[in-house]
């Protein structure tokens, strides 16, 4: 479902990787490993279409993503380094708006339920600026717990970083459920973890 053809990435005159190819079917977790600075985040951004590769192409359902644009993004959920939550808004408002950007309309109750799953039930109506770093991270990850049948591709940059064990288990179970529904999940992680579904691992050499 998701494939890459001889991707090449040059950042600031330095070649991060070249000739990187993979193809994964639906229901697979693609884990990207590599040392710090190897280009994991750049690869994730290329897969999202935020960064243009210096060579090669990313294919989604056998068509280049740069030809699909909004149709591709409607199915993509990206959680990057930055939480992507607004300090001025409550956790609930943040989730409702994030869902609207992805083209899904959710009720405030659905947002509350997602926050509850990540253990933020009590904090749903507080402005995010009052929350700790870890809690902010969980607000971002709560997007994954929304009722969202369009999402066929999750791209997660270190989703397990800065989480306690309960939240980590919760995120992993969400990933498992999404994989079981036939989606592709691409993620990086320094923590060891295990999933029930097929795991495909690629390593970026330094």
């Amino acid at each position: 479902m998701l494939a890459a053809q001889s991707l090449q990435c040059v950042r600031g005159g330095r070649r991060l990787f070249e000739n990187l190819s993979f193809a994964v079917p639906g229901g697979t977790l693609l884990r990207i490993t590599g040392a710090n600075g190897a280009g994991k985040t750049s690869l994730l951004r290329i897969i999202c279409g935020l960064l243009l590769p210096s060579g090669g192409e990313v294919l989604w359902r056998d068509a280049p993503i740069r030809q699909q644009r909004e149709d591709y993004w409607r199915e993509l959920r990206y959680i990057g380094h930055l939480a992507g939550v607004k300090d001025e808004f409550t956790a609930e408002e943040n989730l409702v708006f994030a869902a609207a950007l992805s083209g899904i309309d959710i009720t405030a109750d659905a947002a509350d339920a997602a926050l509850e799953q990540l253990g933020l039930g009590k904090f749903a109506h507080l402005p995010v600026r009052m929350l700790s770093q870890g809690q902010r991270r969980r607000v971002a990850l709560a997007r994954l717990a929304l009722p969202d049948s369009n999402a066929a591709l999750w791209v997660l940059d270190e989703p397990l970083a800065a989480l306690d064990t309960d939240a980590m288990d919760c995120v992993l179970s969400l990933i498992d459920a999404r994989l079981a529904a036939g989606a592709v999940v691409v993620m990086t992680s320094h923590q060891p973890f295990s999933v029930a579904a097929a795991l495909h691992s690629i390593s970026i050499p330094v």
Binding site: C48, G49, L50, L51, L52, E70, W73, R74, L76, Y78, G80, H81, L82, A83, G84, V85, K86, D87, E88, F89, E93, F97, A98, A100, L101, S102, G103, D105
Partner: protein
């Protein structure tokens, strides 16, 4: 609800919760305009002659001051990145953001301009021409400014570069906006000036969101 109304609603809500930001550029406008009579002296004919020019330049600078808010905060917390991955075209998102920006920075200037005009001894008709021209011109300032704001988002010396990029592009709006008042004062019709301002508005409405969307994609690579 469409994504456009969502974005407008969101940005207005943020502006309301951080209203000191919007108020500070408005106060900047009031203070700059009020400094001129103090510096130039109370001679009524001189003041009336320079009123429209002063108000326009102050509006330009106040808009420039507020442009930093347009994308910078969203860039820092990562929400801008999410907008780039929206299920709707980015130019639509940009249009919503620019409209909300105009509502919180341009429109207050237009509403305050009659009061500022009185300070310069303008009369009813003259004030109407000045405010009308500002009403047509300030959205153009927000639209053109959004291109510059998108190109400089995330840059370290962004605000200076933004001024250098955007101010020259504001010249046509300034020339025709201020000239409308001049033409009215010398008894000529203001229709040509308003038509040109209207044309500038339509052209920038059509082109600026596309350019801004493209600039954001380049800036966030």
């Amino acid at each position: 609800m469409t994504i456009w109304t969502r974005i407008v609603q969101r940005d207005l809500r943020i502006a309301w919760r951080r209203r000191s930001d919007a108020l500070s550029s408005l106060f900047f406008f009031v203070i700059v305009v009020s400094l001129f009579p103090l510096g130039v002296g109370p001679e009524p004919s001189t003041l009336r002659l320079m009123a429209s020019g002063v108000l326009w330049v102050a509006a330009l600078l106040a808009t420039l001051l507020s442009l930093g808010r347009l994308f910078a905060a969203d860039h820092l917390d990562g929400t801008l990145e999410q907008m780039l991955l929206a299920a709707e075209p980015l130019w639509l998102v940009v249009t919503g953001k620019v409209f909300a920006h105009w509502l919180t920075s341009g429109l207050p200037l237009v509403l305050l301009s009659p009061l500022m005009g009185l300070q310069f001894g303008l009369e009813g008709d003259e004030i109407a021409v000045l405010s009308g021209a500002l009403l047509l011109g300030t959205p153009v300032l927000s639209l053109i400014g959004s291109i510059g704001a998108a190109l400089t988002v995330g840059l370290r010396a962004g605000s200076v570069l933004l001024a250098l990029l955007v101010l020259p592009l504001y010249i046509p709006v300034l020339v025709f906006g201020a000239a409308a008042s001049g033409a009215f004062a010398s008894g000529l019709t203001v229709t040509p000036h308003f038509s040109i301002l209207g044309a500038l508005l339509l052209a920038s409405m059509a082109l600026a969101p596309l350019a801004t969307a493209l600039a954001l994609r380049i800036s966030l690579e």
